[in-house]
Symmetry: C2
Subunit: 400 residues, 2 copies
């Protein structure tokens, strides 16, 4: 320990995923390999742990527990949604100095990149040497400068598997309850919803319609789309982003929401899928069923993409390597190598370029009608989630 230049703090932020603990494992295991690093502190509940001087001693954990993080969903250090403001700066510096923290790794999305960026500038302005290298994580997949975000491939894999399977359920029910809406996470970005289309193996498979926030569709178009699909095959499976819109800033079907308040005076909101279900039943007379897996989307470990767990681990390790190599600030990025075989190399971008920026689904990833992803999206996303196995069968309708 005598060679140590200082201590390391690692934290997790925002929504948990199946892969964020794999990144944590990468940070810890890499940190243990470097004599420059003294203590390894886990920020308890993210930046709040730093503000409250609450750290978990990660050197005291067994190696089995550290290794087990690679297949444990959630966020083992606890997480937080807290926006650092200048009033916190003094306290932050105080704790950093008290604990001699010289390496700081925050695992998270845009907001976490912003927090990391503030911490880096704060320390630099105060002349306190602090290496701040962020680790990307978000199922929303909306971080700038990286091919994709750890956490996304696994959530995308869940979405594809769930839509494939609940699609078979809807197909079996037929005209009795012919419309299924699967509501998918992503208030602003449609990356996760688009992944539902990876469920389709052959023509006619679910999903039949996919709506993302980036491409508002009118109520009239939606009704027309569903009507056409129903007439084609007597059932319709819709993957709908929780943030689907009919015009920029206007939630799809929001005028079909209940108008009254509950017993506590709160307006009952429901999700966009509730409104759309009401709309479709009213306009087409079709029974609509909803699946809202919500937080199960980002936590069901059995659906994890092996590529995702491995990449999450690699970006965690790389963050420590970059800090040890002398880099003062940055976020690790994934850079897809050219060629037919999928592989990503690791890069690094400035935190300042990532904070407060969102990467939306590009226009060429959705079709002209705005109701289904394109081949370009499939080429992007398929290698991330891997094959869906086993292949299902369908009876041929040889009627007697």
């Amino acid at each position: 320990m005598s060679k140590a230049k200082g201590n390391l703090a690692v934290g997790q932020s925002g929504g948990p995923t199946v892969a964020i603990n794999s990144s944590l494992c990468g940070v810890i295991q890499e940190a243990m390999a470097h004599d420059e690093i003294g203590e390894i502190y886990g920020m308890y509940r993210g930046i709040r742990g730093l503000l409250q001087d609450q750290f978990i001693d990660l050197r005291r954990q067994s190696s089995e527990v550290i290794e087990g993080l690679r297949h444990t969903p959630g966020a083992a250090l606890g997480t937080v949604r807290y926006k650092v403001t200048p009033k916190d700066y003094e306290r932050i510096l105080e704790v950093l100095k008290k604990r001699n923290i010289r390496y700081l790794h925050y695992i998270g999305g845009n907001d976490s990149a912003d927090t990391s960026w503030q911490l880096y500038k704060l320390a630099a302005d105060a002349g306190y040497e602090l290496h701040v290298i962020g680790v990307p994580k978000t199922v929303d997949n909306d971080l700038w400068a990286t091919d994709h975000c750890p956490g996304y491939p696994s959530a995308a894999r869940f979405v594809a598997m769930a839509v494939r399977d609940t699609g078979r359920d809807t197909e079996a029910m037929g005209p009795e309850s012919p419309v299924k809406i699967v509501e998918i996470m992503g208030r602003n970005a449609g990356w996760l919803t688009a992944a539902a289309a990876l469920a389709r193996e052959e023509e006619g498979d679910a999903p039949h319609l996919v709506y993302v926030p980036e491409r508002p569709v009118s109520v009239e178009q939606l009704v027309e789309d569903v009507k056409r699909c129903y007439e084609e095959r007597e059932h319709v499976v819709i993957a709908m982003s929780e943030g689907a819109q009919e015009a920029p800033g206007k939630t799809l079907g929001e005028e079909y929401a209940p108008k009254e308040v509950d017993a506590f005076g709160h307006r009952m909101k429901g999700g966009v899928s509730d409104f759309v279900a009401t709309l479709l039943t009213g306009r087409l007379g079709l029974k609509v069923r909803l699946d809202k897996p919500n937080y199960i989307q980002r936590s069901l470990m059995v659906c994890a993409s092996p590529i995702d767990l491995e990449e999450a681990y690699r970006v965690g390790r790389q963050a420590v390597k970059e800090a040890i190599a002398g880099r003062m600030e940055g976020m690790i990025t994934l850079i897809r190598d050219p060629g037919p075989e999928y592989h990503c190399s690791l890069g690094v971008a400035s935190l300042g370029d990532i904070a407060n920026r969102e990467r939306m689904l590009p226009p060429e990833f959705m079709n002209e009608a705005g109701n289904y992803p394109t081949e370009a999206f499939f080429a992007y996303a398929r290698p991330l989630i891997g094959e869906l196995q086993p292949k299902y069968v369908r009876l041929t309708k040889y009627f007697v």
Copy 2:
């Protein structure tokens, strides 16, 4: 074919599961092994296919497709919820005779057993020889005379896995959004909801509270339970049956439902979890999050219990064997063998004993407070869903 005594018809009914096609495969493969059976007809969309003389020729399907049914979710023949009444009898007899159907296997739950029972009596009264042997299927697990119902173990396994994993998500979020309600299928019977408790591996794990329809709890007790759990660990995961009640026939928290109608004049209903979320936020000021996996519960193949898929296949085969052996009516049952190793033998019960009867969670499977299953339930259910792998880890809170 010249030895054939007649043709066989098989149908699927009610909600699809991950295992109902495995039973269909069992029926078809067993039927193919008996010269007594001529054509093998699949009733297209259940009893409706019989009424409309719509049958899929199952002998023309490839053996790969038939075998692939064992791992394909949904209901490959299409399913139906239709209650046969005496006005249908003449038409049914007409089609049975026209197609020379002498073996009839309907895969389903209570309602399907009732349908099968009516068909058997109808044929017997008309002096038409028809063997009617039902195949059990329901995620609700509420069939009489069988240890459990194919379909239940897999849905139960999904529920346990989902609650385990989304529980880690809630734990990570901590006091920021500390209450999670997972709404689970089962309007009258709590078997599936109780299975959530199989998620718990160590003290403190999710779920913390489990509410089933058979054990109404008052609003006061519910609020008290949640408050106590929150004070203990700053987060609470609740497994709640969609049919949870505060008094027999009264949905839990229904007075907290929105009072107004939507744009089409429908009362917006929401599920019991919406009401309870509103109630808890209002009474305790805690942020509540909901997971409503709905139909994903019964269709996500990756969560299938291997025991379930195998048993579903066996009961399908056995139904044909019983018919060939001369039995005129019945439903195949699973009988758990005594001894430490889990194994079920197959039996048969009269359809008349199963139709129109429900098997509720017995009182000894829930604790006195009515908010958690007992060891007796675990002993019953654990062998059915199998081990949850991999085991997760948790950091020890060695605070610095």
